[in-house]
Point group: C2
Chain length 564, copies 2
């Protein structure tokens, strides 16, 4: 059996190694267009920021090491330019010599990945504009920085790569602005949760130009003007385009393979394409979203590796199935960690799901043990069934742990109410006896049992201020004086029982406190005394972070952006 | 409704607060024998070690704060001395005044906890012998240390409290020895995994006297001699007994409640005892082990809190059920973290389960990102069904995360093979594209598919050295020279294909490398060439750590223990 693999990074390299482990006799040839195989895609921004200092650390394997261990022929700087399914051959171009040749296959795996989206805008070809996808791109940016010592950069695009680059360029002391049309960074997060990311970026001096449309690029004063629609341009010494990625599927299209969203390659759960003996894996393929069941494009390393292994199994006579991606991801944002799994509230609603959410602010570990930090957790579930649909967490220590627990619960098909039963490991340095994930479960169970009724951020402005409802803040007098929502009045929770006479039982009560706990207790006191009562999910802490952020986004000057 | 609760710590305090939240009118009285309520049981050792420096941090609530928030009457220094189910009363003794009185109840919750096991040995009453369970015990030890500046301590017992005390006393600069009859610390772990804990303790100067029977205590030279069977005594300035805990159930027994293991209180899954209107929660109750289904005693704060909430729900007309404990726990051991969930191999076999295990040594996060550390993970599963039964991890960063993911998978009833499908969040600072938990799943799936056959630690000495089998070490020549198992010979994995002629195809091959990965690849090369091949689960790294530890335990002098 001869297997040809197009692409020698995550999915392709995994498939090659796995095929060898399953079949000592197979002939395996991998064609990789770049000069590097099996490289640490996700580590590239950290090389630019000097967190990873050794170039060799970026490439987990070399063609030589891969050959000596796996007897796989890794041909770098070789581009597959055409697939001929009818004769089971590919056309390959040696990028060093320009030579072209045909290579036959019994089985073909496509793992071409994705390419950075290049907007069709004037000036996109300027030499101070960069993209970051490959090891070569990385060295290109790093060499430019080392040679020219740019003092400022504009990053177009605020996804994973944009944020990681922003952090790493800030670590080098550069002035960094992120510009993009959407009004929030990191679209796997709901806008409210993204506010915490925005605040952390600003805290570390990254300027956010959100809601601005880039219309082109012009060289000026040794740097680049980033032209904006209806506004003055931004100016910087260099620009990096990190708008997103698109599946690299010209090859697949030309070969007549069935394509899906954005030209991605359609595969079944055995990673087989529409043409027999051709498999595809990684960022170029369309997957089923595990939660919504809908077709999706999810460009992450974990799924790519799993898919490579599955394609290899099936090529070697096995019967392995890919069970779908749920988009679990995590990102370091300076001192903070932001993580998500499943669907967010916005996408769940887009997918036609009737959802509810709980928002909580638990400590990463027992409050009495030093070093605990507050995290903000949002859990999304289906209203009728309580099926767990997704979660987002922003915070510090322990965020990645809770998202992986929630990712596992989603994968297992758990209900959000069942999170209360999880038997998680507790000791003061690591958690609390009621883990944050348990706490979310308690809250959802309270909703299920009618013990907790909620109001949400979007209700804050809508609630009538005409006296027809009671708006109650149950924090201390000092907390209330320090900042509160207009129209709310203050009774500290511990005085509530004594001061019930100040409230009108005929009016529904909307309650808020700092984190949502004291207002929940207040709601229970009120409910026990015959009031109809609603608790604000997230607390003033959440309200304040989100509204401040929104205010900054709307008033561009407050962002302190440099104008050209 | 009037609810009386015996015990105001974890389960009792949780129940009181929950009942109030569900019922504003109920009368709730809590009797707590000690002077403190709702205290941070698990934080006490850290107060002794000056990690927690403020006494008030140890008590999450005071009777006053609890009353003002929950209108619960918290009576500290009040001991319930008898229950009279027939007239629904308890007899209470005010420990301050000596006064006794009767208190009626509609519903009674017992949350008496557990008491430190006191061995019946000569000298147990000496005033330099301490136990640690309550806030008072903690202040007692701390005051003794502050006043007398002891230079050395012997801890009798190597469970959670013993280890946490050992660490905290070492942090104070004391000379610390742990003595106990079992030859391993931390019995929730298998002996092989406990070796890593032993090694870390020794590395930080804690002396381990394992396999020694304490026969009594004698005052001598201003300190205490700890008398050992058939050996010279240990001497120290103070001794702490941390042998374990026993359910505090004299009350329940006298009241005629049905008792279980070690006199624990038998409850159903609604936390109801054998007598109506009496509930029990926490360390004093017998639970169902979630994995084995057997009756068990599991003294942990997480279950106690959950049970308190469930009892409260049911008392207030709800229908909540406790789904069983799985013993998830984690402990900080100096720089290391050790965690476990479900059953270990030893207990699974005792429970009559036919089990297999995989042992792996993955990095906490991507190797190319700075700061990653190796962890040792052991996953236990049922042979026939691949049901996930338990896991143990020792290491540094990220250990608590993986144990909680595995705990969630166990709770969800996942098979060990399904761990490969978990969609976990990856970025270089947090994980690898193939998370350690995924890796465990890959290994188990390889076993299920016949791709991987293993040999285990207990086979190491048993394997014949008569030439009837091939014993192969596939590490580099340098690694092999630095240490290897007697009888093994060396072919580095990358030379294996060229040197196959040196091996006899008729003999089974037992392969080892450093971590188990290269030997697995070697096994696949050999299997592909017609050999019958077995991989050592854990690698030489594991073998070496365990055998060195065992050697030290057997040769007491090598432990460097002080002899009187």
């Amino acid at each position: 059996m001869k297997v040809v693999i197009v692409g020698g990074v995550a999915g392709g390299a995994t498939a090659a190694a796995r095929i060898r482990r399953l079949n000592e006799q197979a002939e395996i040839v991998v064609f990789e267009r770049s000069g590097y195989i099996s490289y640490a895609n996700c580590g590239l921004p950290y090389y630019i920021g000097d967190v990873i200092t050794d170039r060799s650390d970026l490439t987990l394997q070399t063609p030589e090491s891969f050959f000596s261990r796996f007897h796989v022929n890794m041909k770098v700087r070789h581009e597959v330019t055409a697939i001929h399914p009818e004769k089971k051959e590919v056309t390959v171009k040696n990028l060093e010599t320009g030579e072209e040749f045909e290579e036959s296959y019994d089985k073909l795996i496509l793992s071409p990945g994705a390419k950075p989206t290049q907007p069709r805008l004037p000036g996109v070809g300027l030499d101070k504009l960069f993209t970051l996808r490959t090891v070569e791109d990385t060295f290109c940016i790093k060499d430019y920085i080392n040679a020219n010592h740019p003092k400022s950069a504009v990053l177009a695009g605020g996804g994973f790569i944009g944020l990681e680059l922003a952090e790493n360029l800030r670590e080098l002391g550069m002035d960094v602005t992120i510009v993009q049309r959407p009004k929030q960074l990191m679209n796997p997060f709901d806008a409210d949760m993204a506010s915490f990311i925005h605040n952390e970026m600003r805290k570390h001096g990254v300027k956010l130009a959100l809601g601005h449309t880039v219309e082109g690029f012009e060289e000026r004063d040794g740097g680049v003007d980033v032209l904006l629609k209806d506004e003055q341009p931004l100016h910087a010494d260099m620009v990096i385009l990190a708008i997103g990625v698109s599946p690299e599927t010209t090859l697949a299209k030309d070969a007549g393979l069935e394509l899906g969203i954005k030209g991605s390659i359609v595969v079944n759960d055995r990673m087989e394409t529409s043409i027999s003996d051709i498999y595809a894996v990684g960022d170029a393929v369309q997957v089923k979203h595990f939660v919504t069941g809908q077709d999706a494009l999810i460009s992450l390393a974990g799924p790519a590796n799993k898919q490579g292994r599955i394609a290899a199994d099936n090529i070697c006579g096995g019967d392995s199935h890919y069970t779908g991606s749920q988009g679990s991801s995590v990102i370091k944002v300076f001192d903070m960690t932001a993580a998500t799994t499943g669907v967010n509230e916005t996408n769940a609603r887009k997918a036609g799901l009737d959802v509810d959410t709980v928002i909580l602010s638990p400590m990463s570990h027992a409050g009495y043990y030093p070093g605990g930090k507050v995290m903000t957790m949002k859990v999304v579930f289906e209203k009728a069934t309580y099926r767990l649909l997704g979660a987002q967490i922003v915070g510090y220590e322990g965020v990645d742990k809770r998202i992986d627990v929630l990712a596992t619960a989603i994968r297992a098909g758990m209900k959000a109410t069942e999170l209360k039963d999880l038997d998680l490991a507790y000791a003061p340095p690591y958690s609390s006896a009621k883990d944050p994930v348990n706490m979310a479960g308690f809250m959802v169970e309270n909703i299920a049992n009618g013990v907790l009724k909620q109001w949400h951020l979007e209700d804050a402005d809508r609630l009538p201020r005409d006296g027809s409802v009671t708006l109650l803040d149950t924090r201390t007098v000092e907390e209330f004086a320090h900042g509160h929502i207009d129209g709310f009045f203050n009774i500290p929770v511990d005085e509530l029982r004594e001061r019930l006479g100040e409230l009108d039982k005929r009016k529904p009560v909307y309650v808020i406190c700092q984190s949502g706990l004291r207002s929940y207790i207040a709601c229970r006191i009120l409910a026990g005394n015959g009031f109809d009562c609603y608790n604000f999910s997230g607390g003033f802490r959440f309200y304040d972070a989100v509204t401040n952020d929104r205010c900054l986004i709307e008033s561009a000057t407050a962002c302190g952006m440099d104008r050209a």
